[in-house]
């Protein structure tokens, strides 16, 4: 419910794995807040709520020129610094006290579902203690796994990178035929791996096989799948999610990374290692070996952190990331006390979206995965997924037809 604006300062933080457009959202919030009299200062927290807990100096974002802000918007990765830590019960009062000490009345947190949960906790502390603190969650994640969102800022740019990578790599593979595995980011949701399908433009184009975390991965079926494609095209390009799980639901990559590191959320490291690709590569080399012949040419690349920071974002994604920031600021100024901004698709042809504010608890600490209608069998995505994903990545390069 709308209510009168209290005078005070605003603070903005960035959390979780950064994206190519997370700074667009930061600049969007600043843009949306400027000109409102009750907002005295606009601060940035360093490394998310960690900066508040550890009393790191605040950044005076309100003092930055429009020119600097536009440069920041186009720079990938969280310019305020990000954080992987999950605030403990003991941390929440510290964050809240730091806000009070700095006369913060407007709290904006750009991040994934854990960030929405942080907003929820901080907002509830304010309500309980009678200190008005408006808290807004601004969505970002390359994984595209936030509940209630058609899609999430950051995903489109990562999907664009993945689609372009598969397009180019498929031509590389066709020129020197062999079996090529590309491992794609995504712990539980396969959206980003699925985006590799946008690389297909003609008959024979890869990826020929797509393995998602939503479908249990079976080694024997995998080998049969690859043999089938090689029999047909004399080569095979494969998209594999780093989050593929065995039939018991265990992360296959986590068990392969020597000394895998675990974050505060209990998530074992999946990225930043080539172990999964190398394991699958070795598996193919072994299983394809015939007593006489040598194994086929097999290579594995892990697309890695460039998926989330490549500095040429999807234009649609960049604009939407700015837009969710503006929306959060505007709704706060219109009198809303808390919420999580979400993008809702109104139509696909032409592509049109609206930004709405959801309840924090509807997004907090929940994970969305690929719906069944986006998955086609055990190793592909559906036409519906491609229709869904296409408008988010912008125009892709036009390659020549194969000679």
């Amino acid at each position: 419910m709308a209510s009168r604006l209290i005078e005070g300062n605003a603070i903005i933080g960035q959390s979780g794995g950064p994206t190519a457009v997370i700074n667009q959202s930061l600049v969007g919030i600043i843009e949306g807040l400027r000109g409102y009299k009750p907002v005295k200062k606009i601060f940035g927290m360093r490394h998310g709520v960690d900066g508040l807990i550890k009393h790191m100096p605040l950044v005076d974002l309100g003092a930055l020129s429009t020119e600097t802000l536009e440069k920041i918007a186009k720079t990938p990765s969280a310019c305020l610094g990000s954080s992987r830590s999950k605030p403990t019960e003991a941390d929440a009062p510290k964050i809240f006290e730091a806000c009070k000490a700095n006369d913060i009345r407007y709290f904006f947190y750009i991040g994934g579902n854990d960030s929405s949960d942080t907003c929820r906790i901080i907002h509830e502390m304010g309500v309980k203690t009678g200190y008005e603190l408006r808290c807004f969650h601004v969505p970002k994640t390359v994984d595209n796994d936030l509940m209630g969102n058609d899609h999430t800022p950051g995903f489109g740019s990562a999907a664009r990178y993945v689609a372009m990578a598969f397009m180019a790599d498929d031509r590389d593979n066709a020129s020197l035929p062999g079996i090529k595995i590309n491992v794609v980011m995504g712990r539980n949701a396969g959206f980003l791996t699925a985006a590799s399908a946008l690389a297909r433009h003609g008959e024979g184009d890869g990826p020929h096989l797509i393995y998602l975390p939503e479908v249990p991965f079976d080694v024997d079926r995998f080998i049969e799948d690859v043999k089938g494609v090689v029999g047909k095209y004399n080569r095979c390009q494969i998209a594999v999610s780093e989050g593929i799980k065995d039939k018991e639901g265990k992360d296959i990559a986590a068990s392969l990374i020597s000394g895998a590191q675990t974050d505060a959320h209990g998530n074992a490291q999946l990225s930043g290692s080539g172990a999964l690709g190398d394991m699958l590569s070795n598996l193919i080399k072994e299983r394809f070996k015939s007593p006489s012949g040598k194994p086929p040419r097999v290579r594995a690349d892990t697309l890695g952190y460039l998926q989330r920071c490549w500095p040429e974002p999807s234009p649609v994604d960049a604009a939407e990331a700015r837009g969710v920031g503006i929306k959060a600021a505007t709704e706060a100024m219109n009198g809303l006390t808390d919420g999580s901004v979400a993008i809702i698709r109104m139509s696909n042809h032409p592509y049109r979206v609206e930004k709405r504010v959801l309840k924090l608890s509807d997004v907090a600490a929940k994970t969305r995965v690929m719906p069944p209608e986006f998955i086609n069998g055990t190793h592909d995505v559906s036409r519906a997924f491609i229709e869904y994903c296409k408008p988010l990545v912008g125009e892709l390069p036009h390659f020549a037809p194969r000679l």
Copy 2:
């Protein structure tokens, strides 16, 4: 020496690891040959000389429209297919006979130093047997390792990708501080790894450490180097060539890749595996471990095949790749009988190059490495290298200053 043109057909092949601009050279040759009456047909060989040896059907390149050719020019990776095989002594007569059978009088081969050697062998067979066959080598290689060349088409685009990757990844690393290793292509020459230095624009920017194949890699010194950077910046971004060698000169990566595959040139697989990055990552985790504390956050990415095929090439590189193709065709039409086209830099401010024709034997089967004046100590490049490399990659994105 110039001589009268013989009527007949031309053939073009592509060999070795493809690049983002190798098709620019193909189109350049076709463009350069068109309109010359003695050239009846322009054929393409599939998968380099392999296609001739195995009597694969030729591609009628002369029949392609200008529109199609322009699309091909902008498509990465060898559109005719490439080859990794090195023609044996028994193969050379087969290649030569296939040329005679197809009335080929003009032979163009786009590739690295081995391709220059193939041209030399085929040309000499023609001279010996009195069948005039003009043979031209058109340079390409992301490794930038051809003798007599200031630089090689393909390198600039790969260097652009590497520089952009390090720029973006460095911001990612700054937002979630840790130790980040990025493994870069290059068997013996460190040019591409060195190009990571172009990512530096301000104090504290990575890469903080650069390890080249030209400088023996010492594990203990590496750990000390990383500790020094972490002490200063609380993080560290590292560029490592896949071709780093131990003090005995042995490839470190080749010994780590399980079931590493070897090509016809006897080169053991270095790319298409994350093994080197993972080994260095584990090494840091172990050596940084203190009895009390946990190891720092360490991640490794291997930039992989996207370095050579990312579909947004350096504009300078694309234009030069076209230019060396045109030059080869024009010189053949001017009456030269054989040679290897090379780019020579005439001035750096303003950047200006000339294309010249070298003797095939001056380029054939030789490898250029980073000259000592481009290397700075054990883990960096010199200012001279940066001045050399900058004009080749085109304008890089402008990131915001750090907050």
